[in-house]
Symmetry: C2
Subunit: 320 residues, 2 copies
């Protein structure tokens, strides 16, 4: 391949948690000529990040991390983006592209633009992650075959957009571009509201008087434990997501509540046909997700495949 | 070991779906001297079951399946239990123990007792399953290291209870006994309400106008796809569960709705502390579930472990 191996020579990663750390490791693996700089507000995080080589240089001062950068990727919780952007004022090369990895795009893009007017801004959202967080959690292949949604601001130079797209493609992601508003609606449905619901039911279950916490844990294999996994995600990140994508989240929640009330009413009045119809439709959605390669078709996600027999992995299982 | 290898000589399995089929295969593997009889109302299911050897004999007539039985295990949807029990009137040996595998215990035990008064009844609920259903779905190790909850009716001979417990232990389950009412409350929390919520959100997402079905599927890795898995479970089984465990399900749903409303209000009014507190607590529940060996600690359930690198399995991942 004769094409240049990387769209940016110097990349600064601000925030070295699961996503920031994975960006560093992925850049090192897929674009070895790129020089990476990392920074995190937390000195302990910087220390762990240095041990794990999440970036080539991890200075104590944010100014030193961004001075040479051709691309700055902000990997902090979405409500921290604005104050971090404020710290970068007057510290960047004029051609330096600002990007981020936030789960909400409209409010983040606006916040960065307020602080860094004139700087090229090309927000991105890699739809990737795990329930683990912190500088220990990242790994180089996190973005391989994952979607990354790029939401360019109006009027930004297409050359900058193309370079950000090339950057994510180099790390293995499949890139789509989308308007920021539309991104926020889509993610409210596929990610934000599911997380809020998971957090809620796990909280409801912990607060019961008649059923003990230990019973909930013991019999969690009946379906509950899938919710606990996503309800174990980083609390700061998710608090920020809900506050930043308020309108879309509240709208989807309202629809969800109406739909739940309808099923609740069907249960109360013994309307088995309404329940059956609804439950049959949702099966088709699962089928499409499997067909499109968006999830594992093996029963129970293949959870037991690391045991010596199917099902030998651990006590309890789903759907019953 | 000099102890008798199996508590029952002849076992009849009525209903040859995921659970019934797995019981047959598990008996053959763990209690090879036991003679099994299988029956299903659906001739096609009987045919597939015979091909897969889910039972030694699969007669077309239910009478022939139960005539010699020392144990009958009813493995049909919970609202079908009563009509199946009615077909067994006068067909059983007086000492034959009736058990079942239903996900609700109180209403099922009452229904069986109405139809078969005087017969020893020892209901059981193996907390095991996958999102797949039908006679192709079962496997012998389904109950290995899973919980099985036995809910003996008042006044039933302890010798019968002990034999049913021994039967499930032989198949690898860890058995607990519980009052039927309490079982129904515990499972409402750990299984029934989580399934209803999953069915609801998957339905809500499919019905949106502004976000297309294909976008929902494409970006489902953000959290949504975990819900689609449990919302792919058997519609008949789940319709029956909700109608049969109505009171406990409605009570937990009411609490869930209150909790969700509180979080919704916190989002609307920008109360970040309330959100953060709630999200931090639920993390602890996950930790306990991992510590008690009730789920896989690997990120994302180890979904990607079958690829050539972590994350190589499929596009998209959770928690973002």
């Amino acid at each position: 391949m004769n094409e240049p191996e990387a769209p940016f020579a110097n990349v600064a990663i601000i925030g070295l948690g699961l996503i920031g750390g994975s960006v560093g490791l992925a850049v090192h693996e897929t674009m070895p000529k790129v020089r990476t700089y990392g920074w995190d507000a937390d000195a302990h995080v910087r220390e762990v990040a240095a041990e794990r080589n999440l970036a080539h240089a991890i200075p104590a001062n944010i100014d030193d991390a961004v001075a040479d950068a051709d691309l700055v990727v902000l990997c902090v919780p979405v409500r921290a983006m604005e104050s971090v952007a404020a710290q970068l004022k007057g510290k960047l090369k004029p051609t330096c592209v600002i990007s981020d990895v936030g789960s909400c795009k409209k409010s983040v893009a606006d916040a960065i633009a307020r602080q860094l007017p004139g700087q090229p801004i090309v927000p991105a959202h890699p739809v990737a992650g795990t329930e683990h967080s912190g500088p220990e959690a990242g790994f180089a292949s996190l973005f391989q075959n994952r979607w990354c949604i790029v939401t360019p601001a109006e009027g930004v130079d297409q050359a900058h957009v193309d370079k950000v797209i090339a950057f994510w493609r180099a790390m293995g992601a499949t890139v789509e571009t989308m308007a920021p508003d539309h991104h926020d609606r889509v993610l409210a449905v596929t990610s934000h509201v599911p997380h809020l619901i998971a957090y809620t039911i796990v909280g409801t279950a912990s607060d019961l008087e008649e059923v003990t916490r230990s019973e909930v844990i013991k019999y969690s294999a009946g379906g509950f434990r899938d919710f606990t996994r996503i309800a174990a995600s980083d609390p700061t990140m998710w608090r920020d997501v809900f506050l930043s994508n308020k309108d879309a989240v509240l709208e989807i929640l309202q629809r969800f509540s109406e739909d739940l009330t309808a099923l609740q009413r069907a249960i109360r009045w013994g309307d088995g046909d309404a329940l059956f119809d609804r439950f049959s439709k949702t099966r088709e959605v699962r089928r499409s997700i499997i067909e499109e390669g968006q999830d594992d078709a093996r029963p129970d996600f293949g959870r037991h495949d690391h045991g010596d027999a199917p099902g030998a992995g651990m006590p309890g299982d789903d759907s019953d």
